[in-house]
């Protein structure tokens, strides 16, 4: 277990030393400067798949296209011969699967994606009574309470207090006092993933990049002006690598959109901390094997 008591102080100067704070706008992975490197030895595979027809200009999702993207991503992630075998490799008849979705009404997990996941689990042999899709009720949901496996699926967005609403952050509803993880830009979110109800259960992470929110305004932290049809999914077994990849796309979008330097603020420290403090995966790009599939225009990474 990482040592939490002797945590060294990370300062702005650590970022300035690498020229990365304002110059590149990137904070993902930088706390490696001071800390032990990730506990994950191997590179993490991340699949970024895009299809320009997955979402229209009004944000409406094309369900069949999305389902096909999901299958292609899972096949590529596992080097499987086809979708059916890929899903069977991930889940089986004995599994009880909680699909942790995100219900934030301004940018929820698309229903079409939830439906596709339930369907694929059924095809993999998981019984219908052993599958649940939930967000805010997961702590009382009987399927989640006896789950053997989890799927983590949510849209990427900027967030007032954590910098980014990520896959790592999506599990905050597993704890009874979410606000107790809000300190230092929610840096300790990785600790939630070590709790018994979560640890070791997540077999699939899907960061929805169909219409990501790259900047927020006001108490409601949302404006249609700051979403764009990126039309992508990021899929991985490593939530840290998936989030770090998504964060780089958001950073790149902000850099392209704003005339001035506007790094994600507050910096999404929880992504690097999930790597270096909690050993949940890889946040540094050089430890991520990124497979790009589909539409390549304005891919930003």
């Amino acid at each position: 277990m990482p040592n939490k008591s002797s945590k060294p102080v990370i300062t702005r100067r650590d970022f300035l030393k690498t020229g990365s704070y304002v110059a590149a706008g990137s904070l993902v992975g930088l706390p490696l400067l001071h800390r032990a490197s990730a506990q994950t030895a191997a590179k993490s595979r991340v699949v970024l798949i895009r299809d320009r027809s997955a979402v229209d200009e009004n944000g409406r999702v094309n369900g069949p296209v999305l389902e096909s993207m999901l299958d292609q991503a899972v096949v590529a992630m596992l080097d499987a011969p086809d979708a059916a075998s890929a899903w069977r490799r991930l889940f089986g008849p004995d599994d009880v699967v909680g699909i942790k979705t995100n219900a934030w009404f301004r940018l929820p997990t698309p229903e079409a994606l939830e439906t596709a996941l339930v369907f694929r689990l059924g095809q993999a042999g998981v019984k219908s009574g052993s599958i649940a899709v939930d967000d805010r009720g997961i702590r009382d949901n009987p399927v989640f309470m006896r789950s053997t496996a989890l799927i983590n699926v949510r849209p990427m967005r900027t967030h007032h207090w954590s910098g980014l609403g990520t896959l790592l952050k999506n599990y905050i509803m597993f704890v009874s006092a979410p606000w107790s993880y809000h300190g230092n830009a929610c840096e300790r979110l990785g600790a939630i993933w070590q709790k018994p109800q979560v640890a070791g259960k997540t077999r699939l992470n899907i960061l929805v990049m169909l219409t990501p929110l790259f900047h927020g305004i006001g108490p409601h932290h949302f404006s249609r002006r700051y979403v764009w049809p990126y039309a992508g999914l990021i899929v991985s077994t490593d939530p840290v690598a998936a989030d770090a990849t998504g964060a780089r796309i958001i950073e790149a979008k902000r850099k392209a959109f704003f005339d001035d330097q506007r790094p994600i603020s507050p910096p999404p420290l929880h992504i690097a901390a999930a790597d270096t403090r909690f050993g949940l995966g890889n946040s540094n790009a050089d430890r991520i094997e990124l497979l790009r599939l589909g539409w390549g225009e304005q891919i930003l990474i």
């Binding site: 230092n184 305004i217 409601h220 932290h221 404006s223």
Partner: protein, 315 residues
């Protein structure tokens, strides 16, 4: 005159010898509360129910500093960081038009209403309340002890006009203007970018605007007032942070932490050149800590420190 004598920075900060000042301040606050809307409950009946054809729809909703998370998710932390007391939300609807959401935050004091307003000062300055900004889809302003947000689900010219009219009516109902934080008066005036000042208490809010430490090395708390400001003089730029602590001892500890973790290379002069070529330095006097975070030249940093100290001493 010392900085302590000169500046009763906040609600809990005046030492015993300044009891008279404290009592006078308390009396002023009490009088203010009697003459102005004292809470969102007092303000609620004065708020408009109809504006430019938009009609209030459904029941008003109110939230406290815990239930606010159920309304605006993680953004609730920003308002809690400014000691939010309550939030009243009213929705306006009009056939064929986007909905308008009015959120009135009672911040407990004009200082904190100003502070939370400075959290986001992007946008066009408009003449509503004590200071206001309009960006497409969102109007924000402060008046008295209230921070007000008026939000559009979809942008349209008609809705923008309605939002501004609604803002004017809410500002008029919110009572007389409140005082800005006293610490702002210590900021050197020359070259100050007045529209970009941030007033804050919380380390995460500081990090939001200027990332400094991943821990609370500066010992910020609800009982500290801090002002973060930007300067431009003769082609040079700088960032200045002033912090007023409840006790001089806390200010000393914060300075020691800053030197230990941020400027260990400062040496006896107190100045250090950062990795990006800019200059940083810090000084503490009584309950005040003054930090030049980044200045384009050492001379600029020295001048800012000197001017801030002069303001604090009342010279």
């Amino acid at each position: 005159m010392t900085a302590q004598q000169m500046n009763p920075y906040g609600r809990h900060r005046t030492p015993a010898p300044q009891l008279f000042g404290l009592l006078a301040g308390a009396l002023m606050i009490a009088m203010t509360a009697m003459t102005h809307a004292a809470s969102v409950a007092d303000l609620q009946p004065k708020l408009p129910t109809r504006v430019s054809g938009w009609q209030a729809e459904g029941e008003d909703r109110t939230f406290d500093d815990r239930t606010i998370f159920g309304y605006i998710d993680g953004a609730g932390e920003v308002y809690r960081a400014y000691n939010m007391r309550a939030c009243l939300s009213r929705r306006f609807a009009k056939d064929g038009q986007t909905d308008i959401t009015l959120d009135v935050f009672d911040m407990g004091s004009p200082e904190d209403a100003f502070g939370v307003f400075t959290h986001d000062t992007d946008g066009e300055r408009v003449d509503i309340g004590q200071d206001a900004r309009y960006r497409p889809g969102w109007l924000s302003f402060w008046q008295n002890r209230f921070f007000v947000s008026i939000y559009l689900d979809e942008e349209s010219a008609a809705a923008e006009l309605a939002v501004k009219e609604l803002g004017k009516q809410v500002a008029a109902a919110a009572g007389k203007p409140g005082k800005r934080p006293s610490i702002l008066g210590l900021l050197p005036a020359a070259g100050l970018e007045a529209g970009a000042i941030r007033f804050l208490h919380h380390p995460i809010v500081l990090n939001y605007h200027y990332y400094l430490f991943d821990q609370n090395i500066l010992l910020l708390s609800p009982r500290t007032d801090a002002a973060l400001a930007s300067y431009r003089r003769g082609g040079e730029q700088a960032r200045l942070l002033l912090i007023s602590y409840p006790q001089a001892r806390t200010a000393r500890e914060a300075l020691a932490g800053f030197h230990r973790h941020y400027l260990p290379d400062a040496g006896s002069s107190g100045f250090a050149r950062l990795e990006n070529g800019k200059w940083s330095a810090a000084r503490q006097r009584d309950r005040m800590l003054t930090i030049v975070l980044e200045a384009d030249s050492r001379r600029f940093a020295e001048n800012l420190l000197m001017e801030a100290e002069r303001n604090a001493s009342g010279e």
